[in-house]
């Protein structure tokens, strides 16, 4: 069976969903005229659309009755101690903004020495149990872990500092890899490290948001974005690594992690 140029590309889907510009659309049009396999792929998409269009759209509880939902929502919000009216609005962390504008290359250079030991340390952390953190949405508020009863904010700060430290090493590892000389095995390892950090990063972000630690939440969000991009990459190719590196640079991620950790007194 002949495999055409577009076989492994998303071009037919993009064509179907009108996501191509006029020039690219013309190119796919021309291709379709001569490629039965791609015409079949396009027909499949139309068949999928027809079949799914025949399915009922479910956008409300049974019988369209929202009353029970609204009652439960009201009750949940009334009981929610982290709601805007109930929560004290924490002052913004006094972040030295000038620090954020440092050139990431300088920061990377300064910390490059850490990279060699970074992967080893990160690997050690992989076997360390994940931090237990309190989450209003994911853990029963009435049964916090014993160590959090005394000072949950302090526990969160300590956990945040540790998480940023091990994440920084992984981010540095990604940032300083040479795309030209990165093997599939190297890349797989970096991806795995990034994936291992993702869930905890999301949890720390949610915790920081809940407690009004805005700057910590922002850094966690940037870190989460980088980790998603790295860990979801499906090809161990140079483009992917370069894209991840651009993201790290664009967001000044390493510097932000350093500044937030130190400015929060962590």
């Amino acid at each position: 069976m002949t495999v055409c140029d577009l076989f492994d590309s998303p071009d037919i889907e993009l064509y179907f969903y009108h996501e191509l510009d006029a020039r690219e659309r013309g190119r796919v049009d021309a291709h379709l005229r001569g490629c039965a396999a791609c015409r079949q792929r396009l027909d499949d998409l139309r068949a999928i659309r027809r079949a799914l269009a025949s399915r009922p759209v479910v956008d409300a509880p049974p019988a369209g009755d929202w009353s029970g939902f609204m009652r439960r929502l009201d009750a949940a919000i009334a009981a929610d101690t982290s709601a805007p009216g109930a929560a004290s609005v924490s002052p913004r962390v006094a972040t030295p903004r000038r620090g954020w504008s440092l050139r990431p290359a300088l920061a990377l250079a300064a910390m490059l020495a850490l990279v060699t030991i970074g992967v080893a340390i990160a690997a050690r952390y992989r076997t360390t149990p994940a931090p237990v953190i309190e989450s209003a949405s994911q853990a029963p508020a009435q049964t916090p872990a014993p160590e959090l009863k005394a000072d949950p904010d302090r526990s969160l700060k300590v956990g945040t500092a540790e998480h940023l430290e091990r994440s920084k090493l992984v981010v540095l590892g990604l940032a300083t890899r040479d795309p030209q000389h990165t093997t599939a095995a190297d890349w797989q390892y970096e991806r795995q490290l990034a994936g291992n950090l993702l869930t905890d990063t999301r949890l720390y972000r949610l915790q920081a948001q809940d407690r009004g630690m805005t700057d910590v939440a922002r850094v966690m969000r940037d870190l989460e974005t980088v980790l998603i991009e790295a860990s979801m990459a499906d090809k161990p190719d140079r483009d992917t690594l370069e894209r991840v590196q651009r993201l790290i640079t664009k967001r000044d991620l390493v510097v932000k992690m350093q500044v937030v950790a130190s400015s929060a007194g962590l």
């Binding site: 998303p10 799914l52 993702l198 998603i228």
Partner: protein
């Protein structure tokens, strides 16, 4: 209900709700709950979980009212919250409970197909739409969200990327992978039904 807020812009409703106006928050929920529920149902496949996810979404919205950026679109903000709520929901349903936080990375979770009946089992008992719906439910969560947002919600890939804070290339790959799986289900269904599907 909330007739007084029918013409009020989303951003104004958010501001009012953040200032403690309960009616404004109700109006906000009523305006967007169908969209949230539709996505949640597409993700979860049943009313019980869809309602849980929808409730989680609006609780998170309520908690975050003061952090809403007024130059952003409310729907983009909502999509992101829905995505997080769906992933949180999926995590809670994980058989290992909290254990995945150490070893089961989120990547694995969002890329792991669901354990649900495959197209072969479904085709005998139903129509092609059901087969595909079932296959959508078996897609890894990331692909399922992207496909649902593109196909059912009609969002452009750039909008999805923006809403989920992902690179557009990542969104394209997720969509491509989802469509590839659905195409496979379609082919299987055709084979199973001798082309009737």
């Amino acid at each position: 209900m909330n007739v007084g807020h029918r013409e009020t812009a989303d951003s104004d409703l958010v501001a009012l709700a953040a200032a403690g106006d309960g009616a404004a928050f109700h109006a906000l929920v009523e305006r967007h709950r169908a969209m949230v529920y539709r996505l949640a149902y597409q993700f979860a496949g049943n009313h019980h979980d869809a309602e849980d996810i929808t409730q989680d979404v609006f609780i998170k919205v309520y908690r975050s009212l003061e952090r809403f950026r007024y130059d952003a679109q409310l729907t983009s903000w909502l999509y992101r919250i829905v995505m997080n709520a769906c992933i949180d929901h999926k995590r809670r349903q994980s058989p290992a409970g909290w254990a995945p936080f150490t070893e089961e990375a989120e990547l694995r979770m969002v890329n792991t197909p669901e354990e649900r009946p495959g197209p072969e089992e479904q085709t005998y008992g139903g129509q092609l739409g059901e087969v595909l719906q079932s296959e959508i439910a078996r897609l890894p969560p990331g692909q399922r969200l992207v496909f649902t947002m593109r196909h059912h919600e009609g969002l452009k890939l750039s909008e999805i990327a923006s809403a989920l804070d992902l690179a557009e290339g990542t969104v394209k790959r997720q969509l491509h992978a989802a469509v590839h799986r659905l195409r496979g289900a379609l082919t299987s269904a055709r084979v199973t039904t001798g082309g009737r599907a």
